[in-house]
């Protein structure tokens, strides 16, 4: 149980640091900052684990701390950090389905006219920001009106193309 408590404490501490940093100043590359914070806090806990085990006997960690305990804590924190990072992408970027549902909800009891709905949900709102993201994340470069994939963008595209092909699924989107 001590391992679980320590691993959970590490996640809570990393989340607290993340919220604190966000309140002070929003990082430009938010996902990268989340990875740095979670992995930084994890590294600090792993390095000081023998000392934590000695200082907090209530955790019941044997000394010297066995290797599986280190691996268990790392596996737990990394899994949750990755899951949070993925969830955070939905915080950073508005999903089209949620935009659509919220637009209808805000229209109230009268509902939202189909014509008005189609006017709101245009390329400028749904596609242009994501094209700019490709540039920002260095997945594509822009030369005038032409976009070109970078090596990073090509790799990402190939990973998803391969996975969709293995599934036998279409393009998606």
């Amino acid at each position: 149980m001590g391992e679980l408590l320590l691993a959970s404490g590490t996640v809570i501490l990393a989340f607290a640091v993340h919220v604190l940093v966000w309140k002070i100043r929003l990082p430009r590359k938010q996902t990268r900052a989340i990875i740095l914070i979670f992995f930084g806090v994890l590294a600090a806990v792993v390095i000081t684990l023998p000392r934590i085990a000695g200082m907090l006997p209530v955790l019941g960690l044997r000394e010297p701390v066995p290797l599986p305990v280190y691996l268990n804590i790392i596996c737990f924190v990394v899994s949750i950090a990755l899951a949070y990072m993925i969830t955070y992408s939905a915080v950073e970027v508005d999903s089209p389905s949620l935009i659509m549902v919220l637009a209808i909800y805000r229209a109230g009891d009268a509902g939202l006219a189909v014509r008005h709905f189609n006017e709101i949900l245009n390329d400028a709102l749904l596609v242009e920001p994501r094209i700019r993201d490709l540039e920002f994340d260095r997945m594509a470069t822009r030369n005038g009106e032409v976009y070109q994939l970078t090596a990073k963008g090509r790799l990402m595209a190939r990973i998803f193309i391969l996975h969709r092909r293995l599934l036998g699924a279409g393009k998606g989107g």
Binding site: D94, E145, G153, G172, G173
Partner: protein, 177 residues
Amino acid sequence: MTTGFLPVAAPLLCLMANVSVQMLAFRLRPEFGLLRSEYLGFAAGLAGVIALHLVHLSSVPLPGYGDIAGGALQSLISYAALGYCYFHFVNLGETARRIRLLRELQDGGGRLSHRQLLTRYNAAEIVGRRLKRLLGTGQIVLRDERYFIGNPAVLSIAKAMVMLKVLLLGKTSEYDA
């Protein structure tokens, strides 16, 4: 202490089982649907985590209940988090706009003009696909040329996301100033 290498490896091994079962289920029975294949894969992995823990416990001197529960819970949470990551990976391929744009660029030989990109993928397609899903699942309804909220499940998720945005970013949408 229940610690050994098997509980450490269990979440990763069972993630592989999850991925294999999900892919196989969708590949063999596409009519089963992507979401159901994801649930099936996740359930198979979950059963694997439990089975591996039982195998581990049968091979070591039995620890106290607290250690058994703690070790099992830790593995289950790690597996659930990894399973959640895979669930989102599959959904990124299915619905993410950035991934689709990357695919279009790749299919276009790595270079496309802004106009070509928007011809291949645009708001009309994005909205059309999602409307089909939302209407099909009853999340929204169409009556007299107007859309209304039907089943409020997606609306509840949308509200939760807005709350999280306010908490972390201090705004309700990426389009807010």
